[in-house]
Amino acid sequence: MSDIILTQEQIKRYARQLIMPEIGGKGQVKLLKSKAIVVGAGGLGSAAIQYLAGAGVGKIGIVDGDSVDITNLQRQTIHAGNLGMNKAESAAKFVKTLNPDVEVEVYPENVNVNNVRDIIREYDVVVDCTDNFPSRFLLNDACVMEKIPLVHSAVLRFIGEIMTIVPDSACYRCVFPEAPPPGSVPSCQEAGIAGVATGIFGVMQATEAIKLILGLEILENKMLYADLLTMEFDLIDIRKDRNCPVCSGKVKDLQEESYVETCRIE
């Protein structure tokens, strides 16, 4: 009996990746059975969602409490035509048009200490496409506690970084134990953000999530750091910090006070 059950329509849809040795019929079935949640349907999220959907990830969760604004359209291309709509709903609409194989679950809210672990629990991989430090530290900590892989990426102007956190690897806090105090570094609204930076890094996040699902090599204990102005891409080794309060297992619950100001955990 066959393990690879694809409809005629799916064989056509995924033809270009079915013939790749890294994917094939078995890989396609893995993708169709997998669940990824994208937290943030903004710049990074729009790019990631497109390619996760195209590849046939079976279920995609989309989390975003904001509405589509005209300032978004410089980079958040999947929201075309949806000004005023909730971003998670807008992204879901795009996915359903692109690929009806994909089940979409919409969370028209933002993650917080009370909802994040419940939201992410059923998923195979979390993609951090948020735009603020408290959310990033929250997702890192929640994913470590729930033992769910996390693909982290962040951008500013033409600079970007990406790393993948899995159980027992270095986590985001091993790299940055705390955030800059509010106001000490410019935000995207102040310094700016190149649409192409979110596009490139968002798609790289989808790449990492897809490779993780397929069991291919990922950026585990590595951070890719790039400056798109010079096109220098550096692969930096990261080591697990023995003193990291979260991935050492010392802190087992999310505490509200850990996600304010510098998000430091003592």
Binding site: S2, I4, L18, I19, G24, G25, K26
Partner: protein, 93 residues
């Protein structure tokens, strides 16, 4: 068109896949998907509508590490009333 099940006798451990109604690239993709399900060393027979297709698929399979045993024209008398081109391939991995 004979369905896949009808082409294989229950005792016959060599599978036969009828792709005479398929176009490129599905001729290659479906052959590949079938081989993915098979074990190394097992033999697959695939039937195509024409020689060019059979030989193109054979070439692609060889570059993927499968062993093409032969490509030959078949007529009704040889296999349950089928006319076409048969590719015999041994699963390479």
């Amino acid at each position: 068109m004979l369905r896949h099940a009808e082409l294989n006798d229950s005792n016959d451990r060599i599978e036969v896949l009828d792709l005479r109604d398929e176009n490129c690239p599905f001729t290659f993709i479906k052959t590949k998907l079938k081989l993915e399900e098979m074990k190394k060393g097992e033999e697959l027979k695939v039937i195509f509508s024409d020689e060019v297709t059979a030989r193109d698929v054979a070439k692609s399979l060889t570059s993927e590490g499968h062993e093409v045993l032969e490509v030959l024209e078949i007529h009704g008398a040889q296999l349950k009333g089928i006319d076409g081109w048969m590719l015999r391939v041994r699963c390479g991995r």
